[in-house]
């Protein structure tokens, strides 16, 4: 009581909207703001994957099987021996172990492969429809190797595959959450607003769904997918499977908010204004918890990403030629591959970064969601 009156005296103007208050609070959560920026970059690179990825993710080259990552050198000596700015990578020299007959790559300091920003490349379509023929980083001669994060067992560029995998993995999370949000909002909203028998049944169904062990359930559902579906259909089927289970959490959040808001005086006031149920919900109740829902949804995205990764890792989710972080990690399943080519674990790092930043962002949003709480 005292705290509120105290605040009243200070907020002289009071014309800040709720969103301005939320933004003000969110901005003070440094980690969340930083995570937000990282996530924006991640999603940008997912959207612009063709442009950012130096190579075609499916292009293979048997000469560079398990080639290690190259490092970018920014400076070079020109013909007179002076240092100049000329970014380049070094080429590979292959040494063959005479006993084990194992080929190993060493960097060849003599071979310098200059890099170019926005250089010309094979023509491609950005996001599938914008024709372009420039990429962020290119090499002059397309036959020279460029493997900034190394190559996999078929000599494909891990970095390019990782960037393309970002697109699938992040969109699975987002689309899956949006689908579960729709189901959760409708079911949870009806359940919370009308209550009664419907609420009772819905809650028992949710409890049942949540009591199912998820991995076997996914496995069962994924195994039920017909083998002859194409990759895209499987992709959509997997997101649907994930959201069919993921909606329960969001439905509970929505129901809880409805239950809490239903008894608020200002909702009763709206009812006494003679407002219809639809108007009460849309005008008075939904704005009160959109921020909570956004926060809950953003906390649900990493769960989806992890679930997709887990499914694909087990070989039940997405299948090659679709590239996702889980599919990429499948490559790193055997210990020998990891021992000889630890760079195959980079997709794992991407998963960790994405999940952590989303959790931090969701935390920050949840704290900011109720700007009136002290």
């Amino acid at each position: 009581m005292t705290a509120t009156t105290v605040d009243d005296r200070i907020v002289a103007a009071g014309t800040e909207t709720q969103w301005q208050l939320i933004w003000g609070r969110f901005r003070r959560h440094r980690l969340a703001v930083f995570s937000g920026i990282v996530l924006i970059l991640l999603y940008l690179s997912a959207a612009l994957a063709e442009f950012i990825a130096p190579q075609d993710p499916h292009a293979f080259n048997a000469r560079f099987t398990f080639a290690p990552p190259q490092s970018i050198n920014l400076l070079d000596r020109n013909d007179e021996g002076r240092l100049i700015f000329r970014p380049h990578v070094n080429g590979y020299a292959v040494e063959v172990d005479p006993v084990a007959l194992r080929r190993t790559f060493v960097t060849d300091p003599e071979e310098k492969i200059p890099l170019r920003l926005f250089g010309k490349s094979e023509p491609y379509r950005l996001m599938g429809f914008i024709p372009m023929q420039h990429k962020l980083i290119t090499v002059e001669d397309s036959r020279t190797p460029l493997f900034l994060l190394g190559a996999d067992r078929l000599g494909r560029d891990v970095l390019s595959r990782l960037i393309h995998g970002t697109r699938i993995s992040l969109s699975v999370g987002l689309i899956g959450v949006i689908m579960s949000l729709v189901i959760g909002l409708v079911v949870g909203g009806l359940s919370g607003y009308y209550g009664g028998l419907f609420d009772l049944i819905v809650q028992r169904v949710i409890e049942f769904l949540r009591s199912l062990p998820t991995i076997p359930l996914w496995m069962g559902l994924a195994a039920a997918l017909p083998r002859d579906w194409d990759a895209l259909a499987i992709y959509f089927a997997v997101t649907i499977i994930l959201s069919l289970i993921g909606w329960t959490e969001l439905a509970r959040v929505v129901r809880g908010r409805f239950l809490a808001l239903k008894t608020e005086d200002y909702v009763t006031a709206a009812r006494i204004d003679g407002a219809s149920d639809l108007r009460i919900v849309m005008r008075h109740m939904v704005p009160a918890f959109t921020s909570h829902i956004i926060a809950a949804a953003s906390l649900a995205v990493p769960g989806m990403i992890l679930a997709e990764t887990a499914l694909s890792f087990l070989g039940l989710g997405l299948q090659a030629p679709i590239i996702s972080w889980g599919v990429l990690l499948q490559e790193a399943q055997n210990i020998r591959a990891v021992a000889t080519a630890p760079w195959l674990l980079w997709p794992g790092a991407a998963v960790i970064v994405a999940v952590l930043t989303m959790n931090f962002l969701g935390d920050g949003m949840r704290d900011a969601a109720d700007p009136y709480a002290q």
């Binding site: 105290v6 909207t17 006031a269 003679g274």
Partner: protein, 579 residues
Amino acid sequence: MTPRETAIALEPADQSAAVPAPEVADEILAIVDLETHFTMRRGNLKAVDKVSLSLRAGDTLCVVGESGSGKSVTARSILNIVKPGRIVGGRISFKPGDDAPIHLSDLDPYGPAIRAVRGGHISMIFQEPMSSLSPVHTIGSQIIEAIRLHQPIEKKEAREQAISLLKQVQIPDPEIAVDRYAFQYSGGMRQRAMIAMALANKPKVLIADEPTTALDVTTQAEILKLIKSLQRDYGMAVLFITHDMGVVAEMADHVAVMRDGKVLEYGDVDQIFSRPQHPHTQDLIGAARLMESGPAAKVAGTLSEEPILQVRNLNLAFGTTHGMLRRHRAVVHALRDVSFDLRAGEALGVVGESGSGKTTLARCLVGLYKVDSGSAMFTRGDGSTTDLCGRGGFGDRSLYTEIRMIFQDPFASLNPRMTVEQIVAEPMIVNRACPKSELRSRVADLLESVELPADVMDRYPHAFSGGQRQRIGIARAIALNPRLVLADEATSALDGSLRAQVLDLLLKLRSRLGLSFIFISHDIGVIRYFCERMAVMRRGEIVEIGPSQSICDNPQHAYTQELLAAVPRADPKQSRLRG
């Protein structure tokens, strides 16, 4: 600089110099130039600004002020429990008789030295006993813990002490009650248990922070009496925080009036009440006495004999089920054969303590609850009658344009996501009562009629104080030119002078718009001030109904008499606890 600090700087110097701390011989607690600040998003809030108070042994000092005046923070500063605030200046000295004084403000707020004082020499009771008591421990174990924190005795002995403490605070069957939980106690019993806990170590000073504000008036009278008699037995000094001048007159030996973190006036209780010096003190006393007399402003216009509402034999019972198989059904009769008439233009007050069914009655009349039986025939503007409690009564939503409601809590009843304009315009939009182009000017008119400037329209509710918010709620209620207004504890969340201002505003609107009112309150003074007639409710029944003045002057029913006797008078000469 915050706007508020500017305001302080502009105050004349002689006023901000406040009242000098009096030097007293048997002083037990001295507060000198205390400053407690809170760091807020927009600067520093001086919640307590150079406050000096002095408490004598065995004496009662009442600190009175409206909400936000800094009275609670002052009390909390004594025990240094002001997080997230900070004590930035001044000195609080506790002088336990022969020993050297302890300077409480210099102690580490987490250190053992101050912990020995808290609950030992100085204990505190709070407004909300339910949230101050642990729900998962028995009352007894909480008292025993309080005892054993300060005294090296065995659990068994402490338990004996706990039982005798409960006996002292007049809890029936203390041997059984000691093993009960907080939720099994009523509000008054919880506060008694809190007092028992506070007394566990025979403190020299008891700080009571609005201990009776959450209680019904009859319970309040009992608790005040209990504190007074325990104070005598233990020889404690009591620092009593309240906003209620009536309680001050009952309890105080000395009074400090606070506003905006400053002590405006300090003095003997008789002197404060008979010769208040500061205008704010005069306002507070005036507002309290206003509610003790009959209605000051008479409503213009004559009352018609035509009833606008005829309520007949309303019955409503809430069933609660217990046990695994839902076998036991305990039935609470919220309304029992409630009948009354309301004439057009009349204000009927409904008074009763919590649980008397008065709010249920209001909710039935606006269709939020369905009654079990009975009818409420409402005469509409066009002369037809509708049964408000009948089937489909409020199926016709246009009924809501004629019957409106004002809510108790000005903080909860306004949507924080909507601007003032949207809030006030909402009923007109919903009922298509006003063309879109004229909406804004209509809202401006309405705001003006509740005495708010029209340029606040684009602000959000969080920018307003409680009184201003209640005005916005009133503007919303009258937006549709209603004929009947139900005010459910409309002024209970406001204190002192604000309450009087809002009541006067409602009186003005009543005569201007010809409104009929059903005014629900636990405060018989408010009802007497506002309503021509009153109905006294108890356990769902109307026990007495009649003209306000004659009920107050000559109550017939025993319960009404008890209710009236329990109301503290803002006059120390009429105090029943003194002498």
